[in-house]
């Protein structure tokens, strides 16, 4: 078995940057791909970081779900590839668990 070279990570790696825009962590939120209709957690998306921004693609059909660009004084977010993003609000209260 040989391992080919892959150029993507996953949606989890975008969470820090997206926390500058969203009030809560969206990695566990489920989104629907506008192209193929697959419903997956944002963390499952394939994330490309070697561009002037971040590009998340559908794990099923590779369609672009989300793009985010840090343009210095403003962040530009393009989510046209996602039909919706469903966020479980019960998790928003649970910012962390301390022992």
């Amino acid at each position: 078995m040989t391992l080919q070279t892959y150029s993507y990570l996953d949606g989890n790696a975008a969470a820090g940057e997206l926390s500058r825009i969203f009030a809560m962590d969206i990695t566990a939120a489920k989104g629907q791909c506008a192209n193929c209709g697959a419903k997956r957690h944002f963390a499952e998306a394939h994330l490309y970081m070697q561009c002037p921004g971040l590009v998340a693609r559908c794990v099923v059909c590779d369609h672009v779900l989300l793009r985010v660009v840090d343009a210095g004084q403003r962040m530009v977010l393009d989510m046209r590839g996602m039909r919706y993003l469903a966020v479980e609000m019960s998790q928003s209260q649970e910012s962390s668990v301390a022992v």
Binding site: Y6, S7, L9, G16, S19, T27, A43, Q50
Partner: protein, 243 residues
């Protein structure tokens, strides 16, 4: 959003990986599997951000541990593993991530599969299980290049000897210890069959490693009859300089 952590301890895991303990006075705790983003800023204002998984369980000391593997051409990891000293401060953001996490109220059996430094967030899960005296049975299949590349060696050995419900298996890809029963090689179908939970127990799988490793292990699990919904993955690579 960015907070300042102070380095309180440094520990070399291997020749190229170092665990950094950071004190964070206003830390509110974290869930096992989460990561932090670390930001380094040069005197000229240029800054670089990298993500590193938290290796420690949540604790009352307001400290976290991250383990950083030095990448030969890395921009951030050579500094963190070679120049950073106790007393230095670093900027960080987090805890981050709600999906690749293990919560202490999960009751199902857990299968962890690590490739190289992908062990870091999985170690936090094992440590959280121990710290909270949780009961689900844990299995870890840890793929490493060679015996000397193992992170947290003593901790893993102690855990596996003291707690029979944490089972640790190693897969060596290049060099095996003396008298090891298996030739060096990557995780394959046979190893999945012998060292991981069968689909019938509906375990949750957490796979973390380089993207190629994660893809190949996830494919083996899917082919072996495991449901996609039970498999959680976290990939890292040179781009994000994860872990």
């Amino acid at each position: 959003m960015w907070r300042v952590g102070t380095v309180v301890a440094l520990h070399d895991e291997t020749a190229t990986a170092r665990t950094i303990t950071l004190s964070l006075p206003d830390w509110q705790g974290h869930v096992a599997g989460q990561h932090v983003d670390v930001r380094l800023t040069a005197p000229d204002g240029y800054s670089a951000v990298r993500s590193y998984s938290i290796a420690s369980a949540a604790n009352s000391e307001k400290q976290i541990e991250i383990t950083v593997e030095r990448l030969p051409n890395g921009e951030v990891s050579p500094y963190l593993t070679q120049e950073l000293a106790v007393g230095d401060q670093v900027e960080l953001r987090g805890p981050i991530g709600r999906w690749f996490v293990w919560r202490t109220d999960q009751r199902e059996p857990i299968q962890l599969i690590a490739g190289g430094s992908g062990i870091v967030p999985l170690m936090a899960m094992i440590r959280s299980r121990v710290a909270t005296r949780s009961t689900p049975a844990f299995r870890l299949l840890y793929s490493v290049r060679a015996p000397e590349a193992i992170f947290y060696r003593d901790d893993l050995q102690t855990l596996a000897s003291e707690d029979s419900s944490v089972v640790v298996n190693y897969a060596y890809t290049r060099t095996v210890p003396k008298d090891w029963p298996r030739l060096p090689g990557r995780i394959d179908k046979d190893l999945i069959l012998s060292a991981t939970w069968p689909p019938s127990v509906s375990a949750t799988f957490y796979i973390c490693g380089p993207t190629g490793f994660v893809e190949s292990v996830a494919d083996l699990l899917n082919t072996g009859g495991n449901r996609r919904e039970n498999i959680r993955t976290e990939r890292f690579g040179p781009t994000g300089e994860r872990k």
